[in-house]
């Protein structure tokens, strides 16, 4: 099969120049200057090419129609213009994403026409056309090679698989009739093996897998649909254009000053126990910039503290996962304004606020058990502290404890005895009230510190109480450090000055 013969045949079937190149298996940039590519492949085509070929010049051939019989006009300049106009008329301008990705939902008629042309070429050129491997560059791939670059250039955007997704649904006037025939064809070609067996639904995936000359006879196909594909009068039309913004991740660290603020909304029997939460405060002040639907933002953090525990020091890393983000960037001035707005609550403070690549989320999600947590506990003894007690509570070598599920959560969690490592204990006494100890503890993540202090009736052992051999209770707890160097330090305030 010579290239020239192939192109002449395709031409006679009303196949457009772009699709002709597809059947020449053209790659990437070869679609840009089509004349050059044809020349290189030693194929002669009329110079004026793509459109309006006077029918009287070649009276022996079928009248050439404007609409390509294999792509239904998908690659025509008209369609490109329609598509770009359509995108510009959508909410496209609301999104600032530098990258875009097009997702086409194509009518099945296109796949049927592709198959029909495959059969036609086999008849014409025989064994030169393979049974298993399609003779053309598949339309889906060609869309990427041809339409993507054109649309990106016209819209002044980059291609990015994780960018703003433009979902384009196309329809064609023949789709319904073609699919009806396909249903009949499918019954004849792939009958259900048993009466009770449910017939497989017709889908694009099924078409791709089953509908090849290797699995389907041309004669059977032709009983339902023509070979080569019939000429058409209508082009593809835009059914809808839907935009889905990218997933944007915003990370930072939060600190919590209040002992009456929950981590996430605390609702019991449909009633709120606490008016606000860290999650809501942060989303309220950060979400609006990125999303019109803040209720769809997911808040994640590296662990969490109890309602009555403060989180101080450098704070706890957190991430907001923002679906369908309108905006994917955050200047340091904007970040600073958000940090200041959160600080104004007086109960929560955030810093190091920044947009992070989504791959970095693994930092917060994995290795939770391995992380070290630094705590400071205010504890009270029954008697004033002695030198002996203080010396017993200067522990620089790590030791293991066995901790049963605390009673306070036992009603809703399984009973387990968990081994936990305590890396360091350091106690100080208050000068004015020697019954008061301030105990710094470095522990493995997942240790219940309150229970570690008083031992919870012996259910955590050893405990601070068992180490000193007398009762000790915990009055207050602060998280003072979380062993995770992520996200990176960014001083938004300094950058803005």
């Amino acid at each position: 099969m010579k290239n020239q013969e192939l192109i002449d045949y395709l031409e006679s079937c009303g196949v457009c120049r772009v699709c002709q190149l597809r059947y020449l298996k053209a790659r990437g940039t070869e679609y840009r200057d089509m004349q050059k590519t044809f020349q290189r492949l030693d194929v002669k085509v009329p110079a004026d090419g793509i459109k309006d070929e006077p029918a009287d010049e070649q009276p022996t051939k079928k009248p050439r129609l404007d609409i390509c019989s294999t792509c239904l006009g998908l690659f025509s300049e008209d369609f490109q213009q329609q598509l770009i106009d359509g995108i510009l008329h959508s909410d496209f301008a609301k999104y600032d994403s530098a990258g875009i990705v097009l997702a086409f939902s194509l009518p099945m008629a296109l796949q049927l026409r592709q198959l029909s042309m495959w059969f036609a070429l086999q008849r014409k050129f025989g064994a030169a056309v393979d049974n298993n491997f399609a003779p053309d560059v598949p339309i889906k791939e060609a869309v990427k090679l041809i339409l993507h670059p054109i649309v990106c250039t016209q819209l002044n955007k980059e291609y990015d698989a994780n960018g703003l997704m433009i979902n384009i649904e196309l329809r064609h006037s023949t789709e319904q009739a073609d699919v009806a025939k396909l249903v009949e064809l499918n019954k004849a070609a792939f009958p259900a093996k048993a009466a009770h067996q449910k017939r497989i639904e017709i889908s694009r995936g099924l078409l791709e897998k089953q509908y090849q000359p290797a699995r389907l006879k041309a004669e059977l196909f032709e009983k339902f649909l023509p070979i080569p594909p019939a000429p058409v009068t209508d082009p593809l039309e835009l059914q809808s254009i839907d935009l889905l913004g990218p997933l944007v991740c915003v990370a930072g660290r939060y600190r919590k000053l209040s002992r009456e603020l929950s981590h996430t909304p605390w609702v019991l029997d449909g009633k709120r126990i606490m008016e606000d939460s860290i999650e809501e405060i942060i989303i309220r002040n950060v979400g609006g910039h990125f999303s019109e639907t803040p209720e769809k933002i997911t808040f994640m953090s590296s662990g969490r503290e109890d309602v009555d525990v403060r989180c101080l020091g450098k704070g706890r890393p957190f991430v907001l996962e923002i679906q369908n983000a309108r905006c994917g960037s955050l200047t340091q001035a904007q970040a600073l304004a958000m940090e200041q707005a959160v600080d104004a609550t007086g109960t929560v403070s955030i810093h190091n606020l920044q947009v992070v690549p989504r791959e970095e989320l693994t930092h917060i999600k994995t290795g939770e058990e391995q992380k070290r947590k630094y705590y400071r506990a205010l504890c009270v003894l029954e008697q004033p502290a002695t030198l002996d007690i203080l010396q017993k509570l200067q522990i620089s070598e790590s030791f293991d404890i066995q901790q049963k599920t605390p009673i306070r959560v036992l009603h809703r969690r399984p009973l387990h005895t968990r081994p936990r490592t305590i890396f360091e204990v350091k106690a100080r006494v208050q000068r004015e009230n020697p019954r008061l100890l301030v105990i710094d503890v470095v522990s493995q993540a997942g240790t219940y510190i309150k229970e570690l202090v008083h031992g919870e009736f012996g259910r955590t052992a050893p405990s601070i109480a068992s180490i000193i051999g007398q009762p000790i209770d915990i009055l207050a707890l602060d998280v003072v450090g979380i062993d995770l160097d992520w996200p990176a330090d960014v001083n938004n305030a300094a950058a803005v000055e």
Binding site: A344, L387, H411, H454, G458
Partner: protein
């Protein structure tokens, strides 16, 4: 931060051995304000763990009183009441092998504590022997599922005489939510128990 080394203790340590151990608050600003030192959270009237989270109830059986520590989340700890005669008789041993079944073999699975033994209020939870030679059948006190027993008591029964309130629990039980009101109504409250003790004392007095 430097670790404390006996040789480098300042001379003042001789006057006050605690000197190296005094707490020093480090200043930090968050939300534009200095963070309050954790020691500000001291409360002279801070209630104990039991007082913070539990309500005390009592159950009488065979002239002896038992204490149920009822957590706000309905978990119950079954203990001896302070007036239990075993304390004066001296504790000799504790066993969860109550004859037909060994309660220490209790296993629970999952959030719902599947497989836990279902106990009635009068069901024997454990056996307690005293130095006086008496054996007390510790009742379960409430109807519920056995979650956990205190095996430390078997190894060291004498601990009952010295540990703080609650640590001498014989079992942890989980009653059904629907039964909670009925269970509470069937037990003696702290006031009723105090009243009972007062009457018992005056009875003893009148007898003598």
């Amino acid at each position: 931060m430097a670790t404390i080394d006996a040789q480098t203790l300042p001379t003042t340590a001789q006057e006050d051995p605690l000197e190296p151990y005094y707490f020093q608050h480090e200043e930090q600003k968050i939300c534009g304000e200095f963070v309050k030192p954790i020691t500000d959270n001291y409360d002279e009237n801070y209630p104990s763990v039991v007082d913070r989270f539990f309500t005390r109830y009592y159950y009488l059986k065979g002239g002896a009183a038992y204490q149920v520590l009822y957590h706000s989340n309905r978990i119950c700890l079954v203990c001896l009441a302070p007036s239990h005669p075993a304390y004066s008789e001296g504790i000799e041993s504790v066993s969860y092998d109550v004859g037909n079944v060994d309660r220490s073999q209790n296993v629970v699975k999952g959030k719902a504590k599947k497989g836990g033994m279902i106990l009635q209020a009068e069901t024997t939870l454990a056996l307690l022997k005293t130095n006086a030679g008496n054996t007390y059948k510790i009742p379960s006190c409430i109807r519920g599922k056995l979650v956990e027993v205190n095996t430390a008591l078997v190894a060291d029964p004498k601990m009952l005489e010295r540990v703080a309130e609650g640590a001498g629990y014989f079992g942890i039980l989980l009653p059904k939510i629907d039964n909670c009101d009925g269970i509470k109504a069937s037990l003696l409250t702290q006031e009723q128990y105090d009243e009972l003790l007062k009457n018992a004392k005056s009875e003893v007095k009148t007898e003598t």
